[in-house]
Amino acid sequence: MTTTEVIILSDIKRDPALGDRLTPAEHQLRTCIQCGTCTASCPSASAMDISPRKMWRMVQLGMLDEVLHSKTMWLCSICYQCQVRCPRGIPLTETIAKLKQVAIQQQIKQWRESTRFYLTFSDVMQRYGRMRETEFMARYFLSTNPFEALGYATMGLTLLRRGKLKPELPTLWGEGKLAKLFDRVAELEGRK
């Protein structure tokens, strides 16, 4: 049996320009015809609380809070299947990145293990100029769920033995390799 959820739009806080702010090409999202090809193409759809089709409708309606508190965007694996199949040619996968930008800027706490992933990755990039996989994984798990890390310990040891992971000591002082570029970008975008 299916249930129908009724949302009274006048009862909720909305940001009608949300869709336009998210897509590179203005108004593209408004052309969504709700066909559901995105949901049918998504390898993660079954685990989402709001299907991609429904999420895009909510974005069209400016339901920012509901979209940011849904886990849907964090289950996207960036496989571009919805984007290449969208009959309206909307850059859906790239718009998910924009939604994540908003969620990180607003420091939405609910999906911390996902936002930590991006923030830790970004910090390692800035510091060393290259990804250091071992340090990244260690810092990521310590900042989210150290117990989860135990489940990865056996695999981590196997990878170290095979030479797949390099044990490297972190450098926590001095200017990061890409610090100047990160700072300049922040300055140009008015974040600094």
Partner: protein, 289 residues
């Protein structure tokens, strides 16, 4: 002589060194000159565009500018599909001159400037289209007769920026594997997503996604991949995948250039299969010496 600029990217220089080694050995055997960019840095992967629009272009553009300095109108080859997407996305964006100017404003602090002239191509594209199956077949000394190989392209190799293959039904590995003498085992997950970072952030879901690919390829002797992330997810997590899907999964996962190296008669040691989690030896044992 074919000549390429090479951007290895973080994974090919660390966890997937065997991919880099095999790719360079195969390119050399095919008579191509490959020059690695000095002082390259991370392309930003799918993380930088989430931090900011400009960072998502500035990090790849830094490397494109370095490649451009090595000579105009050069081709830059990448083996990682996430790097490939970052560079192709940036090149598409900087076709707009205002965007290019803004990216260059950022690059000023690195004393670099990008003119938008570097062509970025995936390693698979070079193998399939610059060398081609005939040139590869001509170099085969040890045909992979009897080896059943399941191609796996993953997502970003062929979507959305690939101009060399179909984003839904890719085929460019088929000709190469046939040229090596292998039997191609086609399955329904060749262009599916490996689960990427979900295996770390959302393991319950990520492991199921990786599991569906491994399960589809199981009748083959091994998988052939062309991306370090796909390889890591498919090779390293098979124990965890088995537990989550409640079915034992064990299948060797190779990088395509390793298989080409073996068929070219290059030393097995040079292909560094020992770095893989699931032993590749049972598959290699099927190849006549």
């Amino acid at each position: 002589m074919k000549s390429y600029i090479f951007y290895p990217g973080c994974s090919m220089d660390a966890s997937a060194q065997e991919y880099k080694g095999a790719m360079l050995a195969v390119f050399k055997a095919l008579g191509a000159e490959v020059k690695e960019i000095e002082d390259w840095t991370c392309c930003g992967a799918s993380v930088a565009p989430v931090m900011s629009d400009l960072l998502g272009m500035a990090l790849p553009a830094r490397n494109l500018a370095l490649a451009e300095k090595m000579g105009n109108d050069r081709t830059m080859v990448v083996g990682c599909s996430a790097c490939f997407t970052s560079f192709a996305r940036t090149n598409a964006a900087v076709a707009d001159s205002a965007t290019l100017a803004r990216v260059n404003q950022a690059l000023e602090v690195e004393n670099l400037s990008y003119g938008g002239t570097v062509t970025v191509r995936h390693m698979l594209d070079i193998l399939a289209n610059d060398f081609g199956a005939a040139a590869i077949a001509a170099k085969v000394k040890r045909p992979l007769t009897g080896l059943k190989v399941a191609p796996y392209y993953g997502c970003q190799t062929v979507r959305p920026y690939s101009s060399f293959d179909d984003g839904q039904h890719p085929w460019s590995m088929t000709g190469i594997l046939e040229a090596l003498g292998a039997t191609v085992y086609h399955h329904l997950q060749e262009a599916s997503c490996c689960g990427t970072a979900l295996l770390t952030t959302k393991p319950e879901l990520g492991l199921r996604i990786a599991g569906s690919i491994l399960e589809a390829a199981l009748p083959a002797d091994c998988l052939a991949t062309v991306c370090p992330m796909c390889h890591m997810n498919l090779d390293s997590y098979q124990d965890k995948v088995s537990r989550v899907i409640g079915k034992p999964i064990k299948i060797p996962v190779t990088f395509l250039p390793q298989l080409i190296g073996i068929a070219f008669g290059l030393p097995e040691g040079e292909m560094q299969f020992k770095r893989h989690v699931v032993p590749v030896e049972p598959a290699l044992a099927k190849v006549p010496a």
